[in-house]
Assembly symmetry: C2
Homo-oligomer: 366 residues x 2
């Protein structure tokens, strides 16, 4: 049995008049901010649903963006939002896009915000493990799709992303065919699900192909070009002939850092990016990378959100990646390991099960 | 650059006339079966595409069923096909349903069959690892969605299923809340991806909850009621107070077998099924089970197939399961382990990493 709370129920629960509740629900300005918040949160907790709007033109969705560039065509988020909007508009949904901050998230409850503004559902991009709203998604009652984030057991919250395991394995397989064995992985930041998935995929793929895994060659950094300079010298010192990167920006930094070390890409070192943002094709040399089709990610996010709105509990959906081979990868040419960077002791023989255990916490099996 | 083969190209390649090729592609009866097969396979290999049909009424999809009951409302496949058809009809696709056999699969090439009959895409249910067509899906060029089967790296072949890891964890968590610790798992047959996923999920969940894993209590059988009688006596002898089953049919057999052992469900032993087919609610006692929403699986399969037809490379999509609590589970009541079944030696302390390694081959991380 489903109990549907009415405005009267909420008024009784709070000991206020029904008109006060209506004002709170509709964002009227003549009640206090505290009371309005209390009305909204009580309404959400009691399972109140605003009556469906009659006009199609009133249907609206929202895209929340946290810590991700999306304003310009070259930005990672641009095509994702474009793809989402393209399909949503076709189906007569209006789409708002707003940027959030941690302060914003802390200041308002996610479900209350959605109810107050009358959104049917949302698509969130760029959120990290420690974003304040992440905890709320575990129990949210609003149809929600997260890019690259997974919440267990909540049928209202779905996950869309690219298959990172398949993606990284494509990169490693490409390098192995070119004769590379000393393949390093310079990942993005530790606070994101995709970083963990890509790191796990790198280790799995190396082990699967019987390549030696050197823990000093599997490094978390940050998803920015500047991250590269702190690590490339060391990786080259360890004898890496190829560096796979957590995204294209890191790869951009690696291209520069390799040159600064007096070596050439791809003659001495092959470099592979991740994402295939427009920049990748413009770099010198043009970047071999793993393409995430961002327009399709956005479109798929819409379809999954629509399914959840229609009570089809989509949990997670992944798109196929695509390897785009350009000029930054070439046949391996073994290099002498330079003395300054490594005396050999730091190259450990790693027990694969160690990695399995370390990383299993973040794994989600199909 | 995409090269599109024409009828002329195929004719030249085979050294036959263009009209012979046309006959082969259109299933005319006045050429030999061998030549027709050769024309079709060459056409597929060369990337030939039949010109798009003009009329919407000509658009058609097919559901292939292998080794799965689907004719009656109570059958597992019934609602899946129904859900698929409901949405497909809405979008003006005709849907054919045919049952295949291993002989049928061996006798014709999948892609050729699809091209010859003019299907835009297919949805396949009930296929096992060793079905002849499974190998062909790795390289198929036809938009295809597999229920409960995953093919790597082929952007034309998607996977739809239920989140088995979350499902089994819901069952184990429910039993733990009722005080059970000796929880057995009687799985389906070894030749299916879902069996492997559910077995891995059982082991993961037990380990996660710090419960002892006894390898003699984690058993593969078959997805039929009769499978239970060969195992239940032994599981009870090992002290199991709860048995989670790979599907509802196995659970049906377990209910009967427990009674035959002189014990009662749920007083002495709790039993949980999987699927929630209509039978589950009719059993005595009614069966606590994990619901797969089959209509929604069918609908989702359609959406994914549609995405793949539109060149959106959906890889895999999972739906949320739902725990349906009925009368076959109750608080644990520890039982004396009977002497005949077990002398204690067969209860091993298992190293969790052993299982991780055994099962990792079948895992697909998100």
């Amino acid at each position: 049995m489903i109990t549907v709370a009415t405005i009267k129920d909420i008024a009784e629960k709070l000991g206020v008049s029904q008109s006060t509740v209506s004002k709170g629900l509709n964002g009227a300005s003549d009640i206090s901010e505290e009371l309005r918040a209390e009305v909204l949160e009580t309404a959400v907790a009691m399972g109140y649903k605003k009556p469906g709007t009659k006009k199609k033109s009133d249907r609206k969705l929202i895209v929340f963006v946290e810590n991700m560039a999306y304003m310009n065509e070259d930005d990672f988020g641009y095509d994702i939002i474009l793809g989402f909007k393209q399909i949503a508009y076709k189906e007569h949904y209006a789409v708002d896009v707003i940027e959030t901050s941690r302060n914003f998230q802390s200041a308002c409850t996610y479900d209350s915000y959605m109810m107050e503004h009358g959104y049917s559902g949302s698509f969130l991009i760029g959120y990290a493990f420690d974003d304040p709203w992440m905890e709320q998604f575990k129990t949210s009652v609003t149809p929600t799709v997260l890019l690259d984030n997974f919440v267990k057991k909540n049928p209202k919250v779905g996950y869309i992303g690219t298959d990172n395991a398949e993606a990284i394995d494509m990169a490693i397989t490409h390098l192995i065919k070119l004769g590379h064995e000393k393949i390093a992985f310079l990942d993005g930041s530790k606070d994101s699900l995709v970083s963990d998935q890509r790191m796990a995929a790198y280790l799995d793929s190396m082990i699967k192909h019987n390549l030696h895994v050197d823990p000093n060659m599997a490094i978390y950094s940050y998803f920015v070009a500047d991250a590269a300079k702190y690590h490339v010298g060391k990786l080259l010192g360890l004898g890496a002939t190829a560096i796979v990167c957590g995204n294209d920006l890191i790869a951009q930094g690696v291209l520069e850092a390799v040159v600064n070390e007096g070596l050439r890409v791809p003659d001495d070192v092959s470099v592979i990016g991740f994402d295939d943002i427009p920049l990748a094709a413009e770099l010198k040399p043009s970047l071999t990378t793993i393409r995430q089709n961002r327009t399709e990610l956005g479109k798929s996010a819409y379809f999954i959100l629509k399914a959840i709105i229609n009570d089809i509990p989509m949990s997670r959906s992944l798109l196929r990646p695509q390897l785009v081979v350009r000029d930054s990868t070439a046949e391996a040419r073994p290099r002498m390991v330079r003395a300054h960077a490594n005396d050999g002791d730091s190259v450990l023989n790693v027990n694969p099960s160690l990695y399995t255990n370390i990383l299993s916490k973040e794994r989600i099996s199909v």
